[in-house]
């Protein structure tokens, strides 16, 4: 193998690893952000106690995927890290601010007495803003950071899509982790959220064809459209199954099917972006670090990646089961 293809192989491998980290981040922090958004709909403090308890042990590790992802992007694709964060200054700063709000409030609410309501509100709003900012970032990347009215409309839809998608994950997580009134309400929330998510996803897909360079160039490549079509069929099946599982009072299946819906959407996204990181602006090849760095990072992060997944799963396993309030 000559040097050029090794470099290509390495940078594509890193595109894949970072994509995988992004999927982990979006699915795991997605459900706890979703739970945060849904706390805004519950008036009773005891309901919010149960909901927040269900994510109390994992939210921090979930959010850490974002930190790991940021570091990996910085090392493997410095040019993309620099371009994206500089261009997305305002949404990224607001995203960080929202993450600070919810991260601090989820711990402070336990220590608070009278101010608990305030911290709960901060937690809910912080979660919602986090999702909105991530939706804006997604929309901006897909539109290749090109400003304009079309882009703004598109970005509004991606923001709605991310908020609904996270709410879907959050609601189905709550179906899995709670009982009684909260579980019943979560089934309702999940039903609404799955519709808005799918509608937003369809509009985003149409918008991608109409206004972004991704739709114009990448989707015309040989084979790409067929793969995307297959993914769309899978997504449609997941959508139907989620509705069915909610109705049939499935406990775990709605959450699993929602994760499938997310993974499929992300696969579609990754295929659409490839071989670019920012469509039309920055390709994987031109953003990638030197081969030496990519190999060294592969050894460092590649080896700990399975370990990371391992102890994260252990944590989920340990705190399995429904959250049941016990009155003292």
């Amino acid at each position: 193998m000559n040097a050029v293809t090794t470099q290509e192989l390495l940078s594509n491998a890193w595109f894949g690893i970072i994509g995988l980290m992004l999927v982990f981040y979006v699915v795991t922090d997605g459900f706890d952000l979703g739970v945060g958004i849904l706390t805004l709909f519950r008036r009773d403090e005891s309901d919010r106690d149960v909901m927040i308890q269900s994510i109390g042990h994992v939210w921090d590790a979930n959010e850490t995927w974002l930190v790991a992802l940021g570091g990996a992007l910085f090392g493997a694709f410095p040019a993309a890290y620099s371009l994206l964060l500089t261009q997305l200054y305002v949404p990224v700063m607001l995203l960080i601010a929202s993450l600070i709000m919810r991260g601090a409030s989820i711990e402070f609410r336990h220590a608070a007495h009278r101010s608990k309501r305030v911290w709960d509100a901060v937690f809910g709003i912080g979660s919602l803003l986090t999702a909105i900012c991530q939706g804006i970032v997604l929309g901006k990347v897909l539109t290749g950071l090109v400003p304009g009215v079309d882009s703004a409309a598109f970005i509004a839809i991606t923001a709605i899509g991310v908020v609904s998608g996270y709410s879907l994950l959050g609601a189905t997580w709550l179906i899995k982790k709670t009982t009684g009134a909260i579980e019943d309400a979560s089934r309702r929330y999940a039903t609404y959220a799955v519709f808005t998510t799918v509608i937003a996803a369809i509009v985003v897909s149409l918008g991608t064809v109409k206004i972004t360079t991704v739709g114009v160039t990448r989707w015309d490549d040989v084979g790409v459209f067929h793969v995307l079509l297959a993914l769309a069929v899978l997504a449609a099946a997941a959508f139907v199954y989620i509705l069915y599982a909610i109705r049939m009072r499935g406990e775990h299946s709605p959450f699993i099917a929602s994760m499938v819906l997310f993974v499929v959407s992300f696969a579609g996204l990754a295929i659409s972006l490839f071989p670019y990181i920012v469509p039309g602006q920055l390709s994987i090849a031109s953003a990638a670090s030197d081969g030496t760095t990519l190999v060294f990072m592969l050894f460092g992060i590649g080896i700990v990646f399975p370990v990371m997944i391992g102890y994260n799963l252990f944590q989920y396993h340990l705190f399995r089961g429904k959250v049941v309030p016990i009155k003292h």
Binding site: L69, Y311, R320
Partner: protein, 464 residues
């Protein structure tokens, strides 16, 4: 890019870093302290150690949350405000931050849930393991961050080809000249912080004679460790000082207000106190000890110490008085801890297990309570010396700070800076309110260790 934007970006970084570092230093040391306490519990089976673990872990949890959330802007700020820096150094610096996230931060986050909420859900041994992983994770985090930062001080193992940085030797880049001193000096500073906080809070209860039997334990553990760590830290600080004079002569000269290189065969004189003036290229006034700087800076009588006058003004650090006095404050606090620790050990020996005689040492306890803010001040001063002293470079000798900032509008930077400043005020105020409540409530002396967990726990009960 405008000068205003550069100053704002630097101000924002300074603010974020100054705020952030307050929290991880306590996380590192308090988790290590908890590991000691929990090990004592597992080994001796004395319930008092279990209660200590539960008591101090509440403080850790409050502190941990602020540490996590205030660390996020640190990482992303490199990209938002320092785009050209990120682009240039990502090959090594970004790589190391990636290691930190994956190897250290995730380890900490992956086990902190078990550490905080896992009592009674896991056997003793597994819980101890979780505590050990949190302590290890936070220490590893400090390790990688200091590797990255020390490389900015002494960037070895890289070459610049066509304006692009490439790593030529990872071994040399990671084990750069400043790395060993940077890592150890910072880690010991973190350890000192937690131990002084534990000693100070225990002393507060001892001073008030609240639960003295309980707090004399934590006080003693903290002091025994400090009596060893405080002198070692002074030695580490001295060694890293010698390293600075060798690798970054401009920083060395700046922190000592040293202007004239000493002639061969003579020793450089050391100013005990002075007011360095960059415009004048000299000290306004100074109190000098002849020959002393060669001894301090090179550990030899006539070692050459380069003066600032032999360094082009454009390469001299700014804000000389700040550097000069920040360095003195840090070093002074380091010595004070050693004196306090030795005084306390002397009191321990004198009172020899006589609780009443020990509790009469009110001045000693008061001194420790007053010492609580000092490690924080020392750490901030140390970082000011390290970072401002490296200026005008962001990567020493390779990249100037003025070439490293993103072209962002000053309005956007000042806007986000104000927003973060407001958040930080809320965070630190809330922390103090909750920490005060924790302090007032004191330890729960009725807590009993949970029974070993049932083999299949299918429900997650809420604990209030």
């Amino acid at each position: 890019m405008s000068l205003e934007a550069l100053h704002l970006a630097r101000g924002q970084f300074a603010m974020t870093a100054i705020f952030h570092i307050l929290w991880p230093i306590l996380t590192i040391s308090l988790s290590a302290f908890l590991l000691v306490v929990e090990t004592l519990w597992v080994k001796t089976n004395e319930v008092v150690w279990y209660r200590h673990a539960r008591f101090w872990s509440k403080l850790l949890l409050l502190n941990f949350a602020v540490g996590v959330v205030s660390g996020i802007p640190m990482e992303f700020q490199f990209g938002t405000n320092w785009g050209p820096f990120s682009n240039f150094t990502g090959q090594f610096f970004g790589n190391i931050l990636g290691f930190e996230g994956a190897m250290a931060f995730m380890l900490e986050a992956g086990f902190v849930g078990i550490m905080m909420l896992g009592w009674g859900r896991v056997p003793k041994g597994v819980h101890l393991f979780a505590t050990a992983m949190v302590a290890l994770g936070s220490t590893l985090s400090a390790f990688w961050i200091m590797v990255a930062n020390s490389w900015m001080q002494t960037p070895a193992g890289v070459a610049v080809e066509n304006g692009k940085l490439v790593v030529t030797s990872y071994m040399k880049a990671i084990f750069n000249p400043d790395m060993i001193w940077g890592v150890t000096h910072m880690w010991f500073a973190a350890l000192e912080t937690g131990l002084v906080v534990v000693a100070g809070i225990s002393a507060y209860y001892l001073f008030k004679r609240r639960n003295p039997e309980f707090f004399v334990r934590s006080f003693k553990v903290a002091l025994l460790l400090l009596a060893f760590i405080a002198p070692v830290q002074i030695w580490l600080g001295d060694s890293s000082g010698v390293d600075v004079f060798e690798t970054q002569p401009a920083k060395g000269a700046a922190i000592e207000g040293h202007w004239e290189t000493n002639a061969p065969g003579t020793g450089a004189s050391w100013s005990l106190l002075a007011w360095p003036d960059k415009a004048k290229q000299g000290n306004d006034w100074s109190l000098e000890v002849p020959g002393m700087l060669s001894v301090l800076g090179t550990h030899s009588l006539h070692g050459q110490v380069k003066g600032l006058k032999d360094i082009p003004v454009a390469d001299q650090p700014p804000m000389l008085p700040l550097l000069y006095y920040a360095f003195r404050a840090m070093a002074g606090i380091g010595f004070l801890f050693m004196v306090l620790a030795f005084w306390t050990i002397y009191v321990f020996r004198k009172t020899r297990g006589n609780m009443q005689a020990l509790l009469d040492q009110k001045k000693l306890f008061l001194a420790w309570v007053l010492a609580i803010p000092l490690p924080y001040i020392a750490v901030e001063c140390g970082w000011i010396v390290r970072e401002v002293g490296r200026q005008p470079w962001v990567v020493y000798g390779l990249l100037r700070t003025e070439h490293a900032a993103s072209a962002i509008s000053p309005t956007a930077i000042s806007g986000s800076m104000l927003m973060f400043a407001a958040f930080y005020v809320v965070l630190i105020t809330s922390f103090f309110v909750f920490a005060r409540r924790w302090l007032k409530n004191g330890p729960d002396l009725t807590l009993t260790p949970p029974a070993e967990p049932a083999p299949r726990t299918t429900q997650q009960a809420i604990e209030y």
